[in-house]
Structure formats: structure tokens, C-alpha cells
């Protein structure tokens, strides 16, 4: 029995390594701030350009810094690369109702989705926030970053330009 368990673990690791990093977006139904249901995979499929998923929460300072900094650059990024930013809030029932007033007050022009029990975060293998995923038009994750420090947007911008080429 130990052997079977061991073999199964080894086979899974081998499988992971052989498949490389191309990660597709799982299909999870979430609500947006207008109470409309959005399927995460359909959102990527229907987008014209790349999609940037930013996992955040109202209690996460670096997350808000990240999204506020992107907000200043977003119109240019959209013109140059066609990217769509989707901010996925993992606020739980304690702070979920604060999301919409906050987002409107800072006037983010993003699609904002609510993931209060972390179903999408779990499916995307998010350990902690902020965690940002850049998804190409094929629906594959091509870049991700689990942190935010001022200036990180420069690396992201280069990745966006690569996709736009």
C-alpha cells in the first residue's frame, strides 16, 4: 500500500513537470458588483485582449496600492495592449459589502468580482494576496506575481508589450 501511495505521488509529480507551466483558467461562477453572474473562463474567452486577474481584499494594503497604481496607467495599457483588468476580491462576509463603496470611491475602471469563500482563488492556487495572473488570448497564464512593491508594474508592462507584439 505504501508503494501504491508513493508511486501515485511520483506519477503526479512527473505529470506536473512534463506539462510545463501553461495553466488554463478554471470555470468558476462569481458575482460582479452589479450582482451579475460571471463565469471566469467565459470572461477570458470573450475578452478581446489579454486579461489580468488581480486577487485582492479591502483589508490588504499592498493589494490596494497595486490596483490604485494600475488605475493611473490603465487607459494607456488598454490602448497599447488591449488588456482587461479583473480585480477579484476575496473579502469574506465581514467585509464583502464594503467592496463596492470602496471601488466606486477610488473610481477603478476594472471588472470587479466577488470570491467570498475563495473558490476561484483556490482553483487558481492562490496562497495569499496580492497575487496577479496575466492570461493571454489563448487562455493560458503567461506571467504571475505573488507580491506587490511599487515599481512591479514596470515588469508587468514589459510582459504586456510582449503579448501585444
Amino acid at each position: 500500500m505504501m508503494m501504491i501511495r508513493f508511486l501515485s505521488l511520483v506519477s503526479m509529480m512527473a505529470l506536473v513537470l512534463s506539462m510545463g507551466l501553461a495553466q488554463d483558467i478554471p470555470s468558476i461562477e462569481l458575482k460582479d458588483l452589479g450582482d451579475l453572474t460571471v463565469d471566469t473562463r467565459a470572461l477570458v474567452e470573450e475578452a478581446d485582449g489579454p486579461v489580468l486577474f488581480c486577487f485582492w481584499a479591502t483589508w490588504c494594503s499592498p493589494c490596494k496600492r497595486e490596483l490604485n497604481n494600475y488605475a493611473d496607467l490603465y487607459p494607456d495599457w488598454q490602448d497599447e495592449t488591449g488588456v482587461e483588468i479583473v480585480a477579484v476580491s476575496i473579502d469574506d462576509p465581514r467585509s464583502m459589502m464594503r467592496v463596492k463603496p470602496y471601488v466606486n470611491s477610488v473610481a477603478w475602471d476594472y471588472t470587479v468580482l466577488l470570491d467570498p469563500n475563495k473558490a476561484f482563488a483556490r482553483a487558481m492556487q492562490v496562497n495569499n494576496v496580492p497575487h496577479t495572473f496575466l492570461v493571454n488570448t489563448e487562455g493560458e497564464v503567461v506571467w504571475q506575481h505573488n507580491n506587490y512593491a511599487d515599481g512591479d508594474e514596470e515588469e508587468l508592462y514589459e510582459e504586456l508589450l510582449k503579448l501585444a507584439e
Binding site: 501504491i4 508511486l7 462576509p93 487558481m124 515599481g151 514596470e154
Partner: protein, 573 residues
């Protein structure tokens, strides 16, 4: 053991034949994703701060998740290690093994899950299975769940399972069985005549029942039968129109004498209402919460973090600055409380006189919670039912008053600053965060945060924080003197230097400069170096950490003082 092996064998049976084909066929054979999180701590003795050394001298918690997806099918597992658990984690978690595993099949109209799953009905007041790994909270259900979407806009959920309770080289579930149903319908999506209505309305209802074998309890001269089946149900509605949103939920629970309520048979009741309005630049949110005997567990004998079936959110918000977050964090008083909150977010427009070039962000919040307005019952009725609630008005005892304000502004491309103020009137008898003070602590916290861009990719962030507690008149050596409440005043200084996108360095000093006892005026100095490589992150920290309360989502756990190294690694692939 047998079950675990069978599950591993089943996964192997699915995956082994595929692994050979992986490269030839590409994505058609499905994909595997995963993540890893490791936390290793060493402990040194430090009698000044009360840091203890466990017999193993080190602690190690690790988690590895794997999810396999192929079309509509997915399966996953989490391998966990507690060798030995890090201090502050439930000490009974031991060993290594599979703590979570599931298989899921999802089509457009239905979804079935076998094994472990997380779930939330509405706001979670009747059911929430969730994981808060940093707190060691995981009440995942283990059983079967069926989700049906018979018509557009309607979702029906049914589940039966046991909850995760413990881990000893394998998952150990609760004795109680949870059975639950939930239905939710969005009127605009479901009914044609509502389709064109600009107001979106969603209504829902849930029923949750727990079975746990039980016999009788004795109270005074009474011998009372313990109900084996406990029922809880709730109704909810959400209305949205443009920038306006309204959410309400009403819940009840019957037949649940338990350790939290002193084994009384009184019904539980809860109400949650939240209203918000927002437009570009301005957001307002007000909330009311009343809960009375609503704590629900899948084992009537347990308390604190063990086996909650539902989740009662705290009325205050989660603070993030060190002194505001860790010294007086509020958690819901589960026996019952009533509270309300009001919050405003405002951005002074950019390029205005007050707003500056980039605009200025302001937020203000007032939140408070108190005991319930109740009357204790006498005699047999008192033994059986405990008390009656007279109204949803606030009772005589204040639990928390939290007033906070912050203002932040970007002055130039390279400089941002923020000031935050917090005032707490915090009842340490309701939320026992300290053993040094019993009663209401009045605390004021001031924070100044700055962010400076030094050159391309290099930035420095600093926080200077101070917390001042109120004073009480106390008799010291026959004289009345003003003495600082609890541990007195604190200061925290943090400097964080980042070299984007790969490196960060930080130093944190927390200093209890105003402790009434001069021997306890201790510096807690802690340094961290970290490297980030995309989705992989390694950090090494060293120093002293204060004994304190660590909270997420209104749930808190006491963490003992420690002194030593901490190495963390997280990765997703």
C-alpha cells in the same frame, strides 16, 4: 488508512496512463496545477518576553495542493505536515498526510462533489465551511454535494457530510453529521417580466441540520434530554440598483443546548442588514448586526475555533497596521451581541485645490457592538432556557467602539503619504485579548506611512505608529495615582526597502515604551529578507515577536511570544 490508500490509488489510476502522453497530446489530456506553502520556525528561550522553547526546538507546517482538471472533471488533494506544529497553531495537529481530497464533475446545469469541499450559504450565518490557514481554521465538509441549476438564475444546493476537526497523519472528522439545503434565485434572470427591470433582486433560503448522538444532561435536580438533531434556517435578499445595494439576512436555530450557551434550550436568532450607496468618488456603507445564541457547531461540546457550522462576521473592519491590528482586535462575542457600523469613502477630485494633482483619498468609519438587551429567567425556566431577549436594542455592556479615519495622498510620481487615526474603547472581558487588564481599554493609535521612489525599481516604505492607552486612578502606596491601562503605550517603526520585482528587506521594531512596569519596556525587533520570483516567494526572518492575538475575518487566535528564525516559502505552479 485504507480509505487514504484507495484514494491515492484511484488518483494514480487516473494520472499514470496520462503522464506518458502528456507531451504528445498537450492540453487535451488535462492539466495539473499546484501550490506549496512551507513555514519553518526555530525557537530560543527569552524569559523577558516569555518566549518558550518546545521540546522539538523547531516548528514546521507545510501544505501542498494539487488539482487535476480535464474538461468538466477535476480532482485534487492537499498533503499537510505538522512536524511539529508551529507555536500558536492547534497543538494537537500532528504528522504528515492527506488532509483534503475531492473529485468534482461540473456541467452547466449541475455539479457534483465527492470528498472534501468548502461551501457558504448567503453570508454564512447558517453555513460556512472555509479555510483560514494562518489561523489553523479548516472546517471543510467531507461527504457529497450536489448543485443544480434547473433554470437560468436559480441555484439549488444539497449536501451531506462531516466536518474536518483534527489532523493526526490523516484527516479526522467531527462526530456530528451536517445536512444542508440552499436555494437562491435571481428574479431578473429567472423571470422574463423581470428581465428588463433595472433593479436586480436575488432571494434565497437555507436549511441546515446537524445530527449528533446524545443522551441526557443534569442541571440541578433536572435531567434533560439532549436533542440529537439541531435545526437552523435562514432567509435572505439582495437588491441592487445602480450605485445602491441592500442586503438582508434573517436566521434562526432551535434545539441546541451546547457548551457556548451553557446548555440552554433557548432558540437562536440573528439578523444582518447592510445598505450601501456609491458613485464615482464617494461610497457609503451602513450595517446592522444582531445575533443571539446563534453559534452552531457540529459537536455541541466544543468551543472556540472547533467545528463551527456557521460564521458570524465581526461588525468592525479588519485593521492592517501593526498596532491597530494586533493589540485590541475585536472578535464577535458568539453568545450574542448587537452592533452597527457606518463608513464613508471619499476621493477629493484630482487637480482640485484640496485634492492635489492625483486626488486625495479619505475614509471614515464608526463601528460599535454591545451586549444584548436581555432578562435572566428564574427557576426551572432559567435552568432550561436561560434568558429572554427584550429587543434588538443595545444592552448595558459595551463590547467595542471603533472609530477610524485615514487620509492618503500621492504628492508626486515618487512620493506618497498617509495618515491614519484609530480610537478603540475595547472591552477585554468580552474579547479576552490580554490578561493584564479587565475592563474597557481606551486606546488611540496614530500612524504615518510614507512611500518614496528612490530610483527605477527601488522604493522605500516606512510606517511610524504610536498607541496610547487611557489612564485609571489607582491607589499606589496609599496615594491615588494615574496609571496607564493594560500594557500602556507602544510605538512601532517599520522600514521596508523593495527592489522590484525580486527583493525586499524590512525591519520592524515594536517598543512598549509606556509599560507601567519599567522592566517590561521591551523592544521587539524583527528583520526580514525576501526574494520573489514570479509565483515563488522565499523569506527569511529573525527576531522577537510579541505574544499577541492574530486575527483574520473577526476570528482570532492567541500566538505566544517567540524569538528565533522563520523561513517561509510559497509557490504556485
Amino acid at each position: 488508512m485504507m480509505r487514504r490508500t484507495l484514494f491515492a490509488a484511484a488518483l494514480a489510476a487516473i494520472l499514470l496512463p496520462l503522464s506518458g502522453k502528456a507531451q504528445e497530446d498537450g492540453p487535451n489530456i488535462g492539466q495539473v496545477t499546484g501550490n506549496v506553502q512551507m513555514l519553518f520556525q526555530t525557537y530560543q528561550e527569552d524569559s523577558l518576553i516569555g518566549a518558550q522553547v518546545p521540546p522539538s526546538k523547531t516548528g514546521f507546517n507545510a501544505f501542498g495542493n494539487l488539482i487535476y482538471t480535464r474538461g468538466d472533471f477535476s480532482a485534487g488533494m492537499r498533503y499537510e505536515s505538522y512536524l511539529d506544529p508551529i507555536l500558536g497553531y492547534p497543538g494537537r495537529f500532528r504528522g504528515s498526510g492527506i488532509g483534503y481530497r475531492y473529485a468534482n464533475y461540473a456541467k452547466e446545469n449541475f455539479e457534483v462533489t465527492i470528498g472534501n469541499f468548502y461551501e457558504q450559504f448567503g453570508s454564512g450565518l447558517v453555513l460556512r465551511a472555509y479555510e483560514e490557514r494562518q489561523l489553523g481554521i479548516d472546517n471543510a465538509l467531507d461527504g457529497f454535494r450536489l448543485i443544480l441549476r434547473p433554470v437560468q438564475g436559480m441555484t439549488l444546493k444539497g449536501l451531506v457530510g462531516k466536518q474536518r476537526f483534527d489532523f493526526d497523519s490523516r484527516l479526522i472528522n467531527s462526530p456530528g453529521i451536517v445536512r444542508a439545503f440552499d436555494g437562491e434565485i435571481n428574479l431578473n434572470d429567472a423571470f422574463e417580466r423581470w428581465a428588463a427591470v433595472g433593479t436586480r433582486v436575488t432571494v434565497g433560503a437555507s436549511f441546515v441540520s446537524r445530527f449528533q448522538a446524545g443522551s441526557t444532561i443534569s442541571k440541578d435536580t433536572l435531567v434533560l434530554q439532549l436533542p440529537q438533531n439541531v435545526g437552523s434556517w435562514g432567509y435572505r435578499a439582495q437588491i441592487q440598483k445602480g450605485g445602491f445595494q441592500l442586503m438582508g439576512e434573517y436566521v434562526r436555530k432551535i434545539n441546541d443546548p451546547n457548551a457556548d450557551n451553557g446548555f440552554i434550550y433557548k432558540d437562536g436568532e440573528g439578523i444582518l442588514v447592510n445598505a450601501g450607496w456609491s458613485t464615482k468618488g464617494l461610497g457609503i456603507n451602513v450595517g446592522f448586526k444582531g445575533v443571539d445564541n446563534m453559534q452552531f457547531r457540529s459537536d455541541r461540546n466544543l468551543q472556540l475555533f472547533d467545528l463551527p457550522v456557521n460564521y458570524i462576521p465581526a461588525i468592525t473592519k479588519q485593521h492592517t497596521y501593526n498596532l491597530a491590528a494586533t493589540l485590541y482586535p475585536y472578535a464577535t462575542v458568539v453568545q450574542g451581541e448587537v452592533g452597527w457600523s457606518a463608513e464613508v469613502f471619499y476621493t477629493i477630485p484630482k487637480k482640485s485645490k484640496l485634492g492635489g494633482k492625483y486626488g486625495t483619498k479619505i475614509s471614515f468609519q464608526y463601528a460599535t457592538a454591545s451586549s444584548l438587551d436581555t432578562t435572566n429567567l428564574a427557576g426551572i425556566d432559567g435552568l432550561v432556557n436561560g434568558y429572554t431577549r427584550n429587543s434588538w436594542k443595545a444592552g448595558s455592556e459595551l463590547y467595542i467602539r471603533d472609530i477610524n479615519f485615514d487620509i492618503s495622498r500621492k504628492f508626486s510620481k515618487g512620493f506618497k503619504a498617509k495618515y491614519a487615526y484609530f480610537h478603540f474603547d475595547f472591552n477585554t472581558l468580552a474579547t479576552p485579548v490580554t490578561t493584564d487588564y479587565k475592563g474597557i481599554v481606551n486606546a488611540d493609535v496614530h500612524v504615518v506611512e510614507t512611500q518614496i521612489r528612490i530610483k527605477k525599481g527601488h522604493s522605500l516604505r516606512t510606517e511610524v505608529q504610536a498607541l496610547f492607552t487611557g489612564t485609571d486612578l489607582k491607589e499606589v502606596n496609599g496615594e491615588l495615582k494615574e496609571v496607564k491601562q493594560d500594557k500602556g503605550d507602544w510605538a512601532t517603526v517599520l522600514a521596508e526597502y523593495s527592489v522590484s520585482p525580486h527583493w525586499f528587506f524590512s525591519v520592524l521594531d515594536q517598543y512598549n515604551f509606556g509599560n507601567p512596569n519599567p522592566d517590561q519596556r521591551v523592544h521587539y525587533l524583527y528583520g526580514t529578507v525576501g526574494r520573489i520570483e514570479g509565483a515563488h516567494r522565499l523569506s527569511i526572518g529573525y527576531g522577537k515577536r510579541r505574544e499577541g492575538i492574530f486575527c483574520i475575518g473577526g476570528v482570532c487566535r492567541a500566538v505566544p511570544a517567540s524569538n528565533g528564525f522563520e523561513i517561509t516559502f510559497t509557490s504556485s505552479f
